[in-house]
Symmetry: C2
Subunit: 186 residues, 2 copies
DNA sequence: ATATTATATTCTACTTGTAGAATATAATAT
DNA sequence: ATATTATATTCTACAAGTAGAATATAATAT
């Protein structure tokens, strides 16, 4: 649904190879979007077919050759269109596997569920730490590059990450509290 | 990833038709999972091929005929296996379109973004109201049916819905506050 | 020499989700 | 009579995600 626009968005900052795009993706969008390397390259091919990007092969002597992708005007229009003509319904679509898992908690093993909740909480705490690091790097990057205009938006998405993760941590704690008394199965 | 297990879970409560399953889905799992009717029927066919469910045709005179689906022992095993042998990585996979949209906010129209955030906030408030209704119905249902053992788990997923939605509302408010001074484009 | 790391892209096979139209039957409401 | 609603399922076509293996080149480290 949105990986396409994520890629267009990153390319709107500057032209780059699939390899660099993947790295940048993993330092930024990865916080709220999942994608395999292969998916990114495949999407780049699809975007090129649609004339949203162009690519240019660069011959290198010291490293393998590479293809540099550049967003076109049509691609920029598509990015803007996606931002401006969006339906709120799409943003409301949720797929929350963890919620489904606890919903059917009675069908599984109680102690395993407790373990999972604890692990989940720890994973979210790790996520928070990564996010804090990203926020610091963002501040440094923002000062050295000409991207001051982006900062407020990047901060908004980081803020969203914080609120979600903290909420999930709180939720896991409350669940563990609820399950504290329970022992054995179901 | 999980619709399959959502269907197995619902069928583990009792056998039913695709039609009733869809209705039940829309009153329960819909709060944290999205699925088209056609997807549910397709998944039911797939589950039958895998012997996770069986189906029996019921001839009706007053209504169209129907197929009643029943979970098998293999299906119950699969549900339990999914619950007990799960990787935390899968639960950490996020796809948060709204976060991506604000991330690239500079590429769109500022006033449209503000409108969207307001609309988003309202939609989440509506979601909260639906969730409260579902919680009340759950309490009534729980007393009339023999499903007291499920209640704690259902509450845990409802609680998760509350925390997420409230977090998102707070986030939207903070974003609107941040954008308050800004006028015009970018 | 050998192994590892970084760079850079491609490939295959499969699963899942999106979106909504189409098809039917029969009861109920106007 | 006619329209609407509830019941019940099927179909098509496409888009996107999952998962990881495979292929290459060249620098650097041991």
């Amino acid at each position: 649904m949105s990986l396409k626009h994520g890629i267009l968005g990153l390319l709107s900052y500057c032209s780059m190879t699939g390899y660099d795009l993947t790295k940048l993706f993993n330092e930024s969008l990865k916080f709220f979007w999942n994608a395999q390397t292969s998916q990114i390259y495949r999407e780049l091919d699809a975007l090129e077919k649609k004339k949203y990007v162009t690519s240019e092969q660069i011959i290198q002597r010291d490293k393998p050759n590479k293809r540099v992708f550049t967003i076109t005007d049509i691609g920029k229009d598509e990015l803007t269109r996606w931002l401006d003509e969006h339906s709120i319904n799409d943003s409301m679509k949720i797929r929350d596997e963890m919620a489904m898992r606890v919903f059917f908690g009675s069908k599984g093993d109680l102690s395993k569920l407790k373990d999972e909740l604890l692990e989940y909480k720890k994973a979210k705490e790790m996520f928070l730490i990564h996010l804090e690091k990203a926020e610091k790097e963002l501040n440094e990057y923002e000062q050295s590059s000409g991207k001051e205009g982006e900062k407020i938006y990047w901060l908004m998405s980081i803020k969203r990450g914080y609120i979600s993760a903290k909420g999930h941590i709180q939720w896991a704690e409350e669940c563990l509290e609820l399950l504290k008394e329970r022992k054995g199965k179901n």
